[in-house]
Symmetry: C2
């Protein structure tokens, strides 16, 4: 398949998500949902079964495109997000990513000692070509209707999995190394930072209209450690993206789960928007930082496991807290959960529309 | 064994912990460590093996006294904390607490539907007599050297385990019920709140010099949910304790793990001190709330897995952040981890002493 490079100057027909990221007025509150393509959708599960494995799905351009578009057919959403995994970069470094049913991602060759960290090198971006092909294919399939979000895990979050070999615990091996051998952690983070920068720039060049950095585990760090081991690297990545012709004006969202205490610093890292998990007081965040960055969030995804009435109540609380001024993008505080009834997502999107128009 | 009621008016010989809780000047920074009696100590493991089971240890007055005092023999600590578990109250309600090796606490009969919650009644405090006997025995064994801390889990934290049946996950059953049936959650919390109040008052009457409420899972809640489902109940408990003759002037510490964003409200709940996990910026918290409450914390317990040099560096950072004004109690941001080398704890206590005298 030959893919025509996208025209990055062309604005999507529905650009309210991009305008909200720039804190420009919008006629309604834009909405998209983390993990909007996923296991709660029967049509996703059908394609996932066809692909054979999770990585089989991510690496198949047509199937990755198909599942990215599925939620947009069901719901009136204002953005699509690349269907992929946050651990593609370490996989391309040779760590051997695999998904064990019911256990989440694992690496066959985690990076657990000094020798392994010293041996680590930046991945050849050609090994991530399947991601860029998916971005270009999705961009074409979207036919300019809504913007496409590209993304990466943050260096710290990738490092957690690379050192630990799997998620799910308290990342004790990583946390021990932070204090015992910070030099090794910094080496790992530096290599990963360069790869994330290149990865995001390539996604941008293949058609991503906005970029998001998922710092899923930054909340494990101490206040000082967060600056040193996570935020500093995200700041450098944003600067590197901004230094490229295509990345100069791409909106960037930073989402540190559990990072609500550090928003003062996060909002100064060069990002256009902050993702907020459900523990943050959105009203307070908007009043403190709303003139500096856009805010994306922050309904507890567990609300979607209740009832339509529960969902509408939750949506209204978030919308009231967000207030009238521009720069709010409705989202959950974390990804949609697998057991979520699709009709509750429909009620959520409808409630956001009703409230904001 | 007949136990003479303690004289609650008698001040311990070393009362710097109690003075720091009242934000009075102290000649040095007091220190104690969450889970200071525990699996990292070989002498603890020997007693634990003798007891046969974890609850066998908690319910044996002599053995519970012995393990409570063990860390005080090794280290120059300024307080003892009752050796017990946070789940004694639901156990006394009939849920059947058991500890499965390597899996943490579990309830044989969790409270998972409306009928089970409707059937729930407050526990007979006589079923918790073993805890009060331990408090009195420890108090006597301490011989007035240092203060004794009594404690309970918060109603919300107890409810998480009661509904889920075990810890370790994302408490999805609880989080779903919060939105689907808040009325049921409130019923469960109300019953638990009364029990926690009675439990803490009885510990005080048996000799506890200070009381601590562990809200280990409050950080799972949204900002509004935290006020409604956790903080409101802790506020009521503190008011109930204060309304008793023995509890009128007992210092109370509230520790919500992951609650750093909500300290403004926590410091107004009637507590004398807040426990801080390692994600909070201690310097910032002290400057904002140091004139209102004492601060207890907040070194990442993972520091104790590094080296003596790493421990000393971590201690100095905390001490500098705490500053000179009264009202800081040195502690970890969470409990000591089982794999912690005891000599690193010795280095930690020594570093706190060196820095503060």
């Amino acid at each position: 398949m030959t893919i025509t490079p996208p025209d990055l100057r062309r604005t999507p027909d529905n650009d309210c998500f991009l305008r909200a990221l720039r804190r420009e007025p919008t006629e309604r509150t834009p909405i998209w949902l983390m993990r909007q393509a996923g296991r709660y959708l029967p049509e996703y599960n059908a394609v996932r079964a066809r692909a054979g494995s999770f990585m089989g799905l991510c690496t198949n351009t047509d199937l990755a495109t198909e599942v990215t578009l599925q939620p947009l057919r069901r719901y009136d959403l204002d953005a699509a997000i690349l269907f992929s995994d946050i651990l593609t970069i370490p996989d391309a470094m040779g760590l051997g990513l695999r998904f064990v049913e019911g256990e989440g991602p694992q690496f066959e060759r985690p990076v657990q000692d000094e020798a392994a960290i010293q041996a680590l090198v930046a991945p050849d971006m050609n090994r991530l070509r399947y991601v860029f092909d998916a971005v270009a294919s999705i961009k074409r399939a979207l036919d300019n209707r809504v913007p496409l979000i590209g993304f990466s895990g943050s260096p710290f979050t990738l490092a957690c999995y690379m050192i630990e070999g799997a998620g799910g615990g308290e990342f004790m091996r990583m946390r021990q190394m932070l204090y015992a051998r910070p030099d090794l952690v910094h080496r790992l983070l530096s290599i990963t930072q360069g790869a994330v920068s290149d990865y995001l720039v390539a996604q941008r060049e293949h058609g991503a209209d906005a970029l998001m950095i998922f710092d899923s585990w930054g909340g494990l760090l101490s206040a000082d450690g967060y600056e040193e081991f996570s935020l500093a690297y995200m700041r450098s990545i944003i600067a590197a993206v901004r230094a490229t012709p295509s990345g100069r004006d791409v909106p960037v969202i930073v989402f540190t789960k559990g990072g609500g205490q550090w928003l003062e610093r996060i909002t100064e890292c060069g990002c256009d928007a902050v993702g907020l998990d459900w523990t943050s007081d959105l009203r307070d965040v908007r009043s403190r930082f709303g003139s500096r960055v856009a805010c994306q969030g922050n309904l507890d995804p567990a609300v979607l496991l209740s009832s339509e009435a529960g969902v509408r109540k939750g949506v209204h609380a978030v919308m009231r807290a967000a207030g009238e001024s521009p720069g709010h993008i409705f989202n959950l505080g974390h990804g949609i959960m697998p057991r979520t009834p699709p009709e509750n997502v429909a009620a959520l999107v409808d409630a956001v529309r009703q409230h904001s128009t």
